[in-house]
């Protein structure tokens, strides 16, 4: 009896009212609907989200009758943060509009950064080219043809000096999409800060530094899994002690999603990676509340609007629970899941590219309704080339229109309480948790990587998605429906001139002649010893980049000690 009345108190809806609703719903389901359907059949036999979660015809109070408002939703700025991380959300400060960019030489990208800042961007985000990401210098034989193509080429501190020329580091925050060589790029950023006279405690930004998702999805790995996690933890530890405003890691689901996973897999694998990093930092001897507040996350905003909003809300609630219950964090900030969101590149079509403007708008609206802290909107020409200046501007304007014209930023978490959205949020959490339990029972993430679990799951989902498009179970406008004879591309595509590679290689070779080579070699030898002795490598890497040792040279030292990643081929 007592239990029952307590249950009733927890419920959002009055029990008497609920039974009345149930009665009416029964009538609707058994009479109104069949009558209508007999004349107007539904479009499909069943409806599902990207993660194969069944979507009901209608959601009512019945679906969320077990929600305990204070336990499950709460208030913005308070655990479990379902309704948002901050007390006033976008009524106070809007999200950071952060456009991922980088191409050609450091000089060209410096110009693009200044353009974006002038157009109202509020944070920088650097895209590096493949050689940089893989720890190869621009003059390495494997770099031919790739220098500056998918991002900016950075081989040494000299390039970072050019990249931040005229950009004061105490006025912007910078996100760097870098993983294998994250220690080196962070060291270079610190070096630039030192040159500009900005105290280290003022440096703000993020290193992606999430090597685990590389093994699942992005495959830009340099070292095997264990030393890769060691390097991640070096940054976590160094930042906890010296860079209080730096987010040492951006635990990323984005790449997992882009490689083909569904929304539940994206969330679950990301949180499982997060758990692994927390465990690694704890093993290092750090206290959970010492580093947890600066862990940040990165998700994709894909096409299924409601599923995506549910994912972001469920993500915050689930992480808060994990930090509190599994890791016994006590500071409220340790329960925070701060997130960056990027609209989904893989949803963009090469045919009728202007339609991508609309896709990006809906995806970014989902990100905002999901309560993101930072957002990148993709450019509509991205299935064709690196974004042109005009297309980047439209992408940025999309965010500004959501922020200033739509009104969705005027109240906090406006879709909360929706019978459908709250149900999807619950389902998302439940299904992600099932995956996390499964990963735990296979011995954790590294063991899952060794078994090929993540790659297989992702490849299966990617293939299923493609088949659905080809079988027309999934409609893709302009591709499998409403195709046109002739496409309209209203802009000129960006071309990276071969000249950029030549300039970059020349600059690097000049540097290798003019720097103090003895000094550079001495620090590299010191680094070799530090790596063998399993020290935190950040201090020595800062010294090395200041001596203009290159990323390729530093990575070679580490490859020598740690060995090299060998791809596990799973199709």
């Amino acid at each position: 009896m007592v239990t029952k009345s307590l249950e009733a108190e927890k419920q959002v809806f009055d029990e008497h009212k609920l039974s009345e609703i149930q009665k009416k719903q029964k009538h609707w389901k058994e009479k109104t609907v069949p009558e209508w359907i007999s004349r107007h059949p539904e479009r499909k036999n069943s409806f599902h989200t990207s993660s194969s979660t069944h979507i009901k015809r209608l959601y009512t109070p019945e679906d969320i009758k077990n929600i305990d408002y204070t336990r499950d939703l709460g208030f913005p700025g308070e655990p479990p943060f379902t309704r948002g991380l901050h007390a006033t959300m976008y009524r106070g400060r809007l999200w950071t509009m952060r456009q991922f960019s980088g191409y050609g030489t450091a000089q060209q990208t410096n110009k693009r950064f200044k353009y974006l800042l002038k157009e109202g961007e509020t944070g920088l985000s650097i895209a590096f080219d493949y050689p940089t990401i893989l720890g190869l210098d621009s003059d390495h034989p494997l770099s031919v043809g790739e220098v500056g193509k998918c991002g900016v080429a950075v081989s040494s501190l000299q390039d970072i000096e050019t990249l931040f020329n005229g950009i004061p580091l105490d006025k912007v925050t910078t996100s760097m999409t870098i993983n294998g060589p994250a220690t080196m790029l962070l060291a270079m950023y610190i070096a630039i800060g030192d040159m500009q006279g900005v105290p280290r405690e003022q440096l703000g930004g993020t290193t992606q530094n999430d090597n685990l998702k590389e093994f699942h999805a992005q495959k830009l790995c340099i070292f095997p899994p264990e030393p890769s996690v060691k390097l991640v933890t070096d940054i976590v530890e160094y930042c906890a002690k010296h860079l209080p405003k730096w987010n040492p890691i951006s635990i990323s689901g984005y790449h997992i999603r882009e490689a083909g996973s569904n929304a539940v897999q994206e969330l679950a694998f990301t949180l499982a990676d997060g758990i692994t990093y927390v465990e690694s930092a704890l093993e290092r001897g750090l206290k959970v509340d010492q580093f947890a507040p600066r862990l940040s996350f990165f998700f994709a905003a894909h096409n299924n609007f409601l599923e995506e909003i549910a994912k972001f809300r469920a993500a915050r609630r689930l992480w808060a629970k994990i930090m509190k219950e599994r890791f016994k964090a006590t500071k409220p900030r340790s329960l925070w899941m701060r997130m960056h969101i990027q609209t989904s590149g893989c949803t963009l079509t090469a045919t009728q590219p202007i339609n991508n403007v609309i896709r990006v708008a809906f995806q970014s609206l989902a990100a905002v309704l999901g309560g993101t802290q930072s957002l990148h909107t993709n450019s509509f020409d991205e299935a064709l080339a690196l974004p042109s200046e005009e297309a980047v501007r439209v992408a940025l304007r999309t965010q500004q229109i959501i922020a200033h014209e739509t009104g969705v930023t005027d109240t906090i978490d406006p879709l909360a309480g929706s019978y459908c959205l709250e149900t999807l949020t619950n389902k998302m959490e439940e299904h992600a948790m099932e995956y996390i339990d499964k990963i735990d029972s296979m011995g954790g993430v590294i063991s899952g990587i060794e078994k090929g679990f993540f790659q297989k799951e992702i490849a299966d989902s990617a293939y299923k998605y493609q088949k659905e498009i080809e079988n027309k179970e999934r409609t893709l406008i302009g591709v499998n429906e409403y195709a046109v004879e002739k496409d309209w591309v209203p802009i000129k595509l960006l071309r990276i001139k071969q000249q950029a590679e030549k300039e970059q290689v020349d600059g690097l070779q000049k540097l290798k002649k003019k720097r103090n080579n003895k000094k550079a070699n001495d620090v590299l030898n010191k680094l070799h010893k530090a790596a063998e002795h399993d020290e935190n490598l950040m201090p020595t890497i800062i010294e090395a980049v200041k001596a203009y040792a290159t990323i390729g040279e530093i990575c070679d030292v580490l490859r020598n000690v740690y060995g090299q990643y060998k791809e596990q081929i799973i199709i």
Binding site: L142, G145, C150, L384, A385, Y463, Q466, N480, I571
Partner: protein, 135 residues
């Protein structure tokens, strides 16, 4: 007289590009279509790809690049193939490749370029029609 040989195809990722979603999906679709598929994995040099094509005695080489390095890497591969006398092999390109590059790629021996959004069936059909022609 002889039983018809299955089409043998190598799906390769030249260069440093790691976007392998498309290559893997295509490899699987080729396999489901009854072809014998060799997937090279990432970071293949032109030399490695041509060597695989030679060793595996393939009918088709399908190259996937999304990094923009196709104008550097594709010509190296077709040139090496010619040097090794691999003139009967059908070479296909796929990935993020601007339309304006396609005529130049066809000139150096890429039989066709398949961009994003291409249904796997279109590529399979092309392969079946064009390998029959060369045999």
């Amino acid at each position: 007289m002889s039983t018809k040989r299955k089409i043998r195809i190598v799906v390769a990722k030249p260069g440093l590009d790691s976007h392998d979603r498309g290559a893997k999906v295509i490899a699987r679709a080729f396999r489901d279509a009854g072809m014998e598929v060799i997937y090279t994995g990432l970071w293949q040099t032109p030399e490695q790809i041509v060597e695989t094509a030679l060793q595996e005695d393939v009918d088709v080489v399908a190259l996937s690049i999304l990094s923009g390095a196709h104008m550097t890497l594709f010509p190296k591969i077709t040139k090496l193939m010619k040097q090794k006398g691999l003139n009967d092999i059908l070479v296909l390109g796929g990935g993020v490749i601007p339309d304006e590059d396609i005529p130049a790629l066809k000139k150096i021996g890429i039989a066709e370029v398949f961009g994003p959004d291409t249904p796997t069936n279109t590529i399979i059909k092309f392969i079946k029609e064009n390998t029959q022609k060369t045999k």
